[in-house]
Amino acid sequence: MTKTISRRDFLKLGTASVGAFAVGQMLPPMVAKAAKDSGVLNAAGDGHISSMCEMCVWRCGLIAKIVKGRVVKLDGNPDHPHSRGNLCPRGQSGLMNTYDPDRVLTPLIRVGKRGEGKFRPASWDEALDLVASKMTEIKNKYGAEAMVFSSTHNLSQPLFENLLYAFGSPNYGTQRSLCFNAMIVANTMTYGMEEPARIYDDKLKYILLTGRNLLEAISTSETHDLIMAIDRGAKVVYLDPRYTKTASKATEWLPIKPGNDLAFHLAMLNVIISENLYNRGFVEKNTIGFEELKKEVSRYTPEWAAPLTGISVETITRIAHEFATAAPHALAHNGWRTSNFVNSFQTQRAITILNALIGNWGVTMTAGAGEESGTLGAPSQPPYPRVSALRLDGVPWKYPVVPFKIGVFQEMRDNIVSGDPYQAHGWFISRQNPVMSLPDRGKTLKAFEKLDFIVTMDIILNDTSWFSDVVLPEASYLERYDPLVPIGDKVFIRQPVIEPQGEAKSALWIYKQLGERLGLGDYFQYKDEEDYLRQQLAPTGVSLEEIKEKGFAEFKEISHAEEAAELAWSTPSGKIELYSDTLAKVGFSGVPTWEEPPQPENGQFYLLTGKVAQSTQFGTQNNQLLHKYSDEPRLWMNAQTAAKLGLSTDDWVEAESPVGKIHIRLLATQAIRPDCVYMTPGYGHISKGLKTAFGIGAADSVLHVTYTDPISGGQALSQTFVTVKKA
């Protein structure tokens, strides 16, 4: 047979110095004491424990099979709405994150120069005392705001926020501006919520995906929903400059010119309004600003959009007709990593409004069931101290409509370098890898040079920990408790299925220990992890034992989903805002408007990045099981273009942007527009502490230029242009 993955591919691991072990040959077993005590595991340490995945942010329910105290298999939990019994390749490989031979299993203190990777093991007491004393020193000398904090979306984030806000710093970086700020801010301005939920029911007829590569950037249940919708005959129109795996399953793939999704969607609005194809009743009752919108989009005809998008007038018009005809059983998906160009906010506004015009609310879209912990209790704590210092990320003084809790991460980094409006001196980084994730790696490393102290918390020595002064080893998601999370009328638990290896500790423990050392113990009023969870459950009448056994519990008082779907939006007007006064007041257009995206010059290419099903962002490339089944990361180039440049597959090429250059092997393929190149992020590691991933591929962050959308604060991740030549 013609194998696209042949046996030969597996020799790459067999010959690697990391050794070719099966999972079962890894570290010695560690019985989860709590599970054994409660009888979930038998005396030999065998049994099944329910918990929650953390290989991405989707948080599928899982059931871990434990044999002699070792986790040997993970299966999806059929009772969990996000997994429905399935797990994606990352979820399946999760135990290899825990059993990674490169795990950091003891606190580390740097002994060499920064970036040399020389550390010595230390006790928790020594490491935490050092971190607390450095943080206090910075606070005393320069003020609490000189200490910046950043962390990526996770369940212990409320405690991380306690740490930084109680400490008194306004500087909080999340990954969101590198991902979906455009979408979140657009939805907030339009619907008054970050992200409405999507409904894939039996009647769904038409799905418009704007760069949402749902079959490679897998969200288990939604990926399943999409495939089942296709199976039932729903039409899927997919806009992407790349022929992804999603493109191959779509009814229609439109290789749109990068940066011009906005033109496409403005033209959609134009046709639907000018031909009266919108849901008049819904629009009149539930929206404001229709006339302003109508006036603005009247100039965005399909004839205007066709040359910009590379999509014909007929196609744009037909899709607008089809979409409106399928209404209300039609859905225009916002996409996920939506910050692609500085005009992406306008694109996102146009998409949200497209949905509003056809009145699909309550049919294919609804208020998210949400993962708000409002229904749960929490330990009591004093109010945060008042902070008067400006935020380094420019919110709100430079970015007036960006929500505080999402921020503008790349701007914070830039202002660490510039020292403006003040100089930062320390950075606490938890479960995050800004060296890889922020654009312009060189600049991030420059920011590090400005800092007196860097501390990171992670399970492996990623590229950011590599440059740290102290590394705090966190327990992996299979080894620890995290705060509970409600989804709809159920509450789910992440609990240890094995005991932490080495000296690794949970975030709940680490933040509390640090808080106490900083004199902030009142913000961490729980004895241990289980006590925190019990306090969360106190108002619900559900016992921790019950939830530990099944992995979830149903609330006694069911919150009514119907209520959430009721037509009330938390915008200033209480309606869906086609025209946003909030935007207009701070000097932006109140309705979606055209902003011309920059274009590559002759000889330059758009640099695209995207997701593959076998890795998540920048943290899973060292997982041996995922490495085993991943494709070698290459720079994709259209085959005809490559031929013209005298390049072919496997050639080593040099790609250069205004801020850096990389060497990478080429993949000449038909699956991309001739004016684009593509690379998978997450490779090209600096850290030699990652023995599986080190030396593979190249880092997109070396090439990415920092361009920030002035409205949403999103980093424009597809706006970097590169030249490519034979290396």
Partner: protein, 258 residues
């Protein structure tokens, strides 16, 4: 006595997104070494010229044939076809001859060249996850599949399901269930929008290949006995000739020493 129902896999290429969750799941469940696998991806990759493109992938492991060629080729009976579906391999009987590898029309059994004869277990292939299916679970590859491209169940039911799915959307599928009859039937059934040979599947007759080969193979024992007799005769003749020659040489030397 209850009838033992034959079980099978159904793979739907229109649903497969090439995510490889099945491959990882199999590797973990069966503790496969990092440089080996029991599931592969085959297919057309990306076919056509930009922007008129097509993509199609198939994951496959042992097809668990009703008339397994590996089994008929195996000289020591290391393979068994169970009534409920699985084709199983017994490493204790295997002598490492690799006939099964050559016999399998799907290229499934893989020989472990890293191991010596004493270590045993030369051939690696899908087992049907007996540790799971006899404990009320689906095989690891099936259970994890995020798009239900892989399903598991009674073979008759899956065949009905496959035909129903094709009938419901005739333009979406090729009207054929691969493995229903191929090679006398397999327990890995495939439906697809891409021609089966382009997915990498061989065109096989409905009559199992080994029905022919087994007839030939049945001849091998009498043939071997007959051939053995001939060889024995030849050996005896050679031996006799050598002895005579030796004797002559000894006599020659005796002559010289005089």
């Amino acid at each position: 006595m209850t009838e033992i129902k034959q079980h099978a896999f159904l793979f739907d290429a229109t649903r497969c997104i090439d995510c490889r969750a099945c491959m990882v799941a199999c590797s973990v469940e069966n503790n496969i070494e990092m440089d080996k696998t029991r599931i592969w991806v085959s297919g057309i990759g990306v076919k056509g010229e930009y922007p008129d493109l097509q993509r199609g992938t198939m994951v496959y492991h042992c097809m668990h044939c009703d008339h397994p060629d590996c089994m008929s080729a195996c000289p020591v009976g290391a393979y068994t076809k169970a009534d409920d579906g699985p084709v199983t391999y017994n490493p204790d009987l295997c002598i490492g001859c690799r006939y099964c590898m050559n016999a399998c029309p799907f290229g499934v059994p893989h020989f472990d060249y890293d191991k010596g004869i004493i270590e045993g277990a030369f051939i690696d292939k899908c087992t049907f996850c007996p540790q799971r299916i006899y404990n009320g679970q689906e095989p690891a590859c099936v259970q994890t599949c995020p798009t239900d491209a892989l399903e598991y169940g009674e073979r008759d039911e899956l065949i009905k399901k496959a035909h129903a799915r094709i009938a419901a959307r005739p333009n979406h599928y090729i009207d054929h269930v691969y493995g229903e009859h191929e090679n006398g039937g397999t327990s890995y059934l495939i439906i697809s929008h891409i021609p089966f040979n382009e997915l990498g599947l061989p065109n096989l007759p409905e009559t199992p290949v080994n029905e022919v080969s087994e007839k030939v193979m049945e001849m091998t024992i009498p043939f071997a006995i007959g051939w053995g007799a001939v060889l024995t005769g030849v050996a005896a003749g050679v031996n006799l000739y050598n002895k005579k020659k030796e004797k002559a040489q000894v006599e020659e030397k005796a002559e010289e020493s005089k």
